[in-house]
């Protein structure tokens, strides 16, 4: 039995090349015969599936419970309203009006407990889907977390996708952008994080935020700088000063941008690229000593 090892590919700033990196890394390792899964955790905008020819395998609906208030039994005591920190229960006791705003409910359970009249019962509320696919041509599976538009947070869908699909071997997680809750929940489930950035003032600013969070969470990480050649060398000075591992520099190349734009894997057009991904994987495994095959 192998120890599960999860690598999250993340970035403070959007559009730095997270999906470019994670999809190519996954394909490089899977084609080598590694036992690897790829989970697209960007549930607001999942799109890693574009890069693979897949066969649908399994669908799982992610739901939560939301309360339904029985107005026959309700005494309009307002206890449930006061217990709800999310303002999901709208109530006008004097007019005997009480209503649950489903979209605001976080399913914490406090209202059921607060009600002394057995007037609150749960109903099922859909949040999103976790779809699993097999990639044609090699072993390995692709998992996609997809949130329904208008849902308050993708976190529950991300958690479910990761919990139910982490393999005994290696799992690569494509993280949502930013450093707020969706990012935190993705990296919290991983043993190592690869941060993708670009050498621009915006890129460096957002990288620093992500680094701060990972240090606080005590998760080891390294950095890949994308589109080197555009921008300046601020990011390299920062990495050196902070003694952060620079895993790879990807040069700016219009051809890469074009391949990516067409949903093609760069490793198919650039011989030797797959070796870069395998070396990065081996470096991480070597340094952190877990999950080695």
């Amino acid at each position: 039995m192998q120890t599960p090892f999860r690598i999250a590919v993340a970035s403070g700033k959007g559009g730095t090349g997270k999906t470019l990196f994670s999809s190519n890394m996954y394909a490089s390792l899977a084609r080598q015969g590694k036992d690897v899964a790829f989970i697209d955790c960007d549930a607001e905008e999942p799109n890693a599936g574009i890069f693979f020819e897949t066969e649908f395998f399994r669908h799982e609906q992610v739901t939560q419970e939301v309360p339904v208030i029985d107005t026959e039994k309700c005494t309009f005591c307002n206890q449930c309203h006061d217990a709800c920190r999310y303002h999901a229960i709208f109530s006008l006791p004097d007019s005997q009006i009480i209503q649950v705003i489903d979209d605001l409910c976080h399913d914490c359970g406090a209202c059921y407990y607060a009600c002394r009249f057995d007037a609150i019962k749960p109903k099922v509320f859909p949040l999103g889907d976790v779809n699993t696919y097999h990639c044609k041509g090699y072993d390995g599976k692709l998992v996609e977390a997809r949130m329904h538009a208008g849902v308050y947070s993708p976190v529950k869908i991300i958690d479910r996708a990761i919990q139910n699909n982490s393999m005994s071997g290696l799992t690569i997680l494509d993280s949502p952008p930013g450093t707020s809750c969706p990012f935190i929940h993705t990296v919290a489930h991983s043993e190592y994080v690869i941060l993708i950035t670009e050498s621009t003032p915006f890129g460096v600013n957002d990288l620093k935020q992500a680094v701060e969070v990972l240090k606080e969470m005590n998760i080891p990480f390294g950095v890949v700088v994308n589109r080197v050649g555009l921008g300046n060398d601020e990011v390299f000075r920062y990495l050196k000063k902070e003694k952060i591992d620079l895993l790879w520099q990807i040069p700016f190349d219009k051809r890469i941008a074009r391949l990516y734009s067409e949903g093609k894997l760069v490793i198919d057009a650039y011989p030797g690229w797959d070796q870069e991904f395998i070396s990065i994987y081996e470096f991480i495994v070597g340094k952190y000593g877990i999950g080695s095959n």
């Binding site: 217990a83 915006f202 969470m217």
Partner: protein
């Protein structure tokens, strides 16, 4: 007007900055609070700083806790780990519902407010700007977005400025909806890639539920002309106006490294000219109040 994009990194913030640099009087509201960047480019002189208290976290009083485990049994977020010797609440998984505070028989749990997020107002070379910086790991960014917008509106009223340009967040979750609500115009920035087109379709489906005037800008359109054409067809099919196409230009990034927008750095470049045309198309439209 709000500028958003489904996919991140499509050039949304750069477009916003360029539009702002052309407008004679406008208020800039940076609502991408999770990765606010406009203040880096415009280096505003901050005139007001407010603390944003967003979510709350449960904290345990070690002295009172008897490790009975009741809180852990009630927590639906799996945030509480309880052993006979120790009870721990995870900051990461705590959702701030305070259910544990209610059920604790020892009165050992209380809620603590997060107060690391900030809201700033300041003036910069083109006028006034409001921006929010969300502390890492914070939730409720929609609330901070609403505060940024409320401050921008108050400022606009005080200074009698008609137009507010909002730099919105990527994605299509709660902060995006907060950013666009109450605006008249929404500009969606897209680039010609399959991933960005996929995200664009999701954003447009969301926007269809509301009554905005929607504009699309294709950034770096010449990186893939065939896909740029597909975006144009989407505009046509969905009856959304194409505000313009911006060619790829390394000068955009070069300018950014010295804190200049493309219209400031290379005003004669094809990219800057494209941005000017977009500006005219959107702001000189008769329905929008002229600047």
């Amino acid at each position: 007007m709000a500028v958003i994009s489904g996919k991140g990194g499509t050039g949304k913030s750069n477009l916003v900055a360029s539009l702002v640099s052309m407008a004679p009087s406008v208020i800039l509201a940076d609502c991408d609070v999770d990765a606010a960047n406009q203040h880096i480019l415009f280096q505003p002189r901050v005139s007001a700083e407010e603390t944003f208290t967003g979510s709350e976290n449960a904290v345990i009083d070690e002295k009172k806790c008897t490790h009975c485990g009741i809180c852990a049994n009630h927590c639906r977020f799996g945030a509480i780990q309880c052993t006979p010797e120790q009870t721990k609440i995870s900051d990461i998984f705590c959702d701030g519902c305070a259910f544990c505070v209610t059920v604790c028989p020892e009165d050992a749990i209380s809620m603590q407010k997060h107060n690391k997020s900030r809201l700033y107002t300041g003036d910069f070379r083109y006028g006034e700007m409001v921006y929010g910086i969300l502390a890492p790991g914070e939730e409720n960014s929609g609330k901070l977005v609403n505060m940024v917008k409320a401050n921008a509106r108050n400022l606009a009223r005080k200074k009698q400025i008609q137009n507010i340009i909002i730099d919105g967040p990527p994605g299509l979750g709660c902060p995006v909806i907060s950013s666009i609500s109450g605006t008249t115009d929404v500009v969606v920035v897209c680039e010609p890639s399959l991933t960005a087109i996929h995200d664009l379709e999701r954003v447009l489906s969301l926007l269809e539920k509301y009554k905005f005037r929607v504009w699309i800008v294709i950034n770096k359109f010449d990186l893939n002309l065939a896909l740029a054409r597909i975006i144009e067809n989407i505009c046509h099919d969905r009856q959304v106006t194409l505000a313009g196409k911006i060619p790829f230009d390394e000068n955009v990034v070069k300018g950014m490294t010295i804190c200049k927008t493309i219209t400031e750095y290379k005003p004669d470049s094809p990219a800057a000219k494209a941005v000017s045309r977009i500006y005219n198309q959107i702001f000189c439209d008769e329905k929008m109040s002229p600047l």
